[in-house]
């Protein structure tokens, strides 16, 4: 860079460059040997690192493969668990035609005996169809007449019985069901187990317990639930209660004979239990609970009015208060129902009925103040998380939250409902809210 013709200002730079260039000497042989030794050492270390890296990579891949394999095996096992053996059935007294129609060959009706232990019997004259039989479950349609079902309990399969506009979800039980298209009368007598009946019923789905009998008359917009003694002989389905004939007297009357909802209950025919209760009236004055079972709700209300509503609320027994609340509810006298339930809460605090009153207050308020009804349900669930009406309260809470606050607010409640009651009567609505198929 020390060139004679370069500008003056570049000369210092040239001088510095030359100084830098000249200050570096060629490495000696010893330097090179030392460098080569170091090079081999670094190559060895690098190779060891590479081997270690490969080993760890292989270990990682192996772990990932094992994990995937585990998931695969688990899913296969789960799939196998889900795979139920196909349900087989045989037909006695008739045959299955195209479309699943059941035709009897004699006068004894048609009987279906399933491999899982379920028995279905169509009474003489009844018409029905075997709509589907698969691994998910079985669906039977009763077009007309009566049929009895003895369904084997299964967690994997569901059983559905369609009778006219009604649908019965079966959870392992013994019951008879009848549907009369001309009179549009539906009747279900549950011997044991439980079922959920859905259809054109005033307050939505109804879950029946063992010993209960449901009669729905569509033309009269009438729904009646009565208690049947568990050991009572099977009531011939499709037979009006008044023609049932004399039944043996039950030893103990149920404390709360039953509950019912109807738009015109006064005209409803008394059930078998009701008739038995009527027979007892000769000997003693019936209680309000008995009036309730007989469908004499106006009688209860008249008695209360005669004695004075305020006095009744302050002096009536817990059982009578509950009967009064029910009668008032069925007669759409929500104010009186609410007062009776609040009196129950105030006077018999700590009792089981007091807790039940919380839930029923919610039902009463749903027709006039849904926000307050939601509060009653939440209060009930807080005080009785495993109470009699817990499933129903969760379901109503979900529905009301959806209506009042929208889908997003209702979704966590729906998830909780599904977690607690995966097969509950609100499970379908909950799944719809969660976006599940």
């Amino acid at each position: 860079m020390t060139r004679s013709n370069e500008p003056k200002e570049v000369r210092p730079l040239s001088a510095l460059t030359k100084l830098a260039r000249d200050s570096v000497t060629r490495p000696t042989s010893a330097d090179l040997d030392r460098g080569l030794t170091l090079l081999f050492a670094r190559a060895t270390a690098r190779k060891a690192r590479a081997v270690k890296l490969i080993r760890w990579s292989l270990a990682g891949v192996l772990a990932a493969v094992c994990t995937l394999l585990g998931f695969h095996v688990a899913s296969v096992m789960r799939g196998r668990e889900r795979e139920q053996p196909a349900v087989a059935y045989r037909v006695e007294g008739g045959s299955v035609l195209a479309g699943g129609y059941l035709r009897d060959s004699g006068d004894d009706g048609v009987r279906l005996i399933f491999s899982e232990g379920t028995r279905v019997e169509l009474m003489p004259g009844a018409r029905g169809r075997l709509r589907s039989v698969d691994q998910e479950g079985t669906r039977v349609v009763l077009d007309q007449g009566s049929a009895s079902f003895d369904v084997a309990r299964s967690h994997q399969r569901r059983w559905l019985v369609d009778a006219g506009p009604f649908s019965v979800a079966v959870k392992g039980t013994l019951f008879t069901v009848s549907w009369d298209p001309p009179t549009e009368r539906f009747e279900l007598t549950l011997r044991h187990g439980s079922v959920v009946v859905s259809g054109p019923i005033v307050n939505g789905d109804i879950e029946l317990r063992a010993g209960q009998r449901l009669v729905v008359s569509l033309p009269r917009a009438e729904t009646l639930i009565t208690e049947e003694p568990p050991n009572a002989p099977a009531v011939a389905p499709n037979t009006p209660p008044s023609l049932t004939g004399p039944d043996p007297e039950p030893e103990n009357q149920p404390s709360r004979a039953g509950s019912a909802t109807a738009s015109d209950p006064a005209q409803s025919p008394p059930s078998a239990t009701a008739r038995r209760i009527e027979a007892n009236q000769v000997e003693r004055k019936p209680s309000w609970a008995q009036h309730l079972a007989l469908g004499h709700w106006d009688q209860i209300l008249e008695d209360a009015a005669r004695s004075g509503i305020d006095r009744t609320l302050e002096t009536a027994s817990s059982e009578d208060l509950f009967a009064l609340a029910d009668a008032a509810r069925y007669r759409r006298r929500t104010d009186l129902a609410s007062k009776a339930l609040l009196a129950q809460r105030r006077r018999f605090a700590g009792s089981a009925r007091s807790l039940d009153a919380l839930f029923l207050l919610g039902r009463v308020d749903e027709s006039r103040d849904r926000a307050r009804a939601l509060g009653w349900y939440e209060d009930y669930l807080q005080r009785a998380p495993r109470g009699t009406y817990a499933a129903e309260a969760w379901g109503r809470k979900m529905v009301l939250t959806h209506e009042l606050e929208g889908r997003a607010a209702a979704r966590p409640i729906a998830e909780e409902y599904l977690r607690r009651f995966p097969k509950g009567s609100y499970a379908g609505a909950a799944r719809a809210l969660c976006g599940e198929p």
Partner: protein, 210 residues
């Protein structure tokens, strides 16, 4: 002698008898993983790489580290050498690439550190007088202020005496870029030297009016 590189137990292999092999044979030996080729390649090209790196970086130890990395890369990538006769250019390319990376790292470290580290001078065995050492320290401090590319172009041109075309080829940039970069580096260095009180004082004396 025909063991593959991956199979040999590592030891110093510096057979002087192999030093007269041609670059082509050496490249073929490296590509074949011959153990002897490692020592010969090192002894043949390490002085060049070490000197260039030391001049460019101003540090013997940094140059040695760089040479180690460069030769490890060369031995790994020797199989990719398609023209064995260009082994020298191959080694030079790796050395320049390594230098460029090192200069960039230094620049990044300078940006990341709160205080710019003082340039450390650490030349080899040749004794440099105190005054020259001070000048070199100031000079390398100025070089540190250049961008990595400008500094490398300046070093290859002025310290290694490479032609513009050689620099363009080895750095894989255009000739015009090399010229522009060089002019930029010279202009900036000259300006910094003029404005540096310590350097200006030195170069005003007669001793440097050569």
């Amino acid at each position: 002698m025909s063991k593959r590189l991956s199979q040999v137990s590592l030891s110093l292999v510096a057979g002087t008898s192999c030093r007269d092999v041609s670059d082509v044979e050496l490249a073929q030996g490296l590509a074949a993983g011959e153990a002897w080729a490692i020592g010969v390649t090192w002894h043949r090209f390490a002085p060049m790489v070490l000197s260039m790196a030391e001049r460019a970086l101003g540090s013997r130890s940094d140059a040695e580290d760089l040479a180690q990395d460069v030769f490890l890369s060369i031995f790994q990538k020797a199989k990719n050498l398609r023209e064995p006769e260009k082994l020298r250019s191959f080694v030079y390319s790796f050395a320049v690439f390594g230098l460029k990376s090192e200069l960039r790292r230094r620049k990044l470290r300078g940006w990341l550190s709160i205080l710019t580290p003082e340039a450390l001078l650490e030349f080899g065995q040749r004794s440099v007088d105190v005054e020259s050492r001070d000048l070199l320290r100031r000079f390398y401090a100025l070089l540190d202020r250049l961008s990595a590319r400008d500094r490398l172009v300046f070093s290859l041109r002025e310290l290694e005496s490479m032609t513009i075309e050689e620099i363009a080829e080895v750095m894989q940039i255009s000739v015009s870029t090399v010229k522009r970069s060089l002019a930029h580096a010279v202009a900036r260095l000259s300006h910094w030297i003029r404005t540096d009180p310590g350097l200006a004082e030195v170069f005003d004396t007669q001793r440097w009016q050569r």
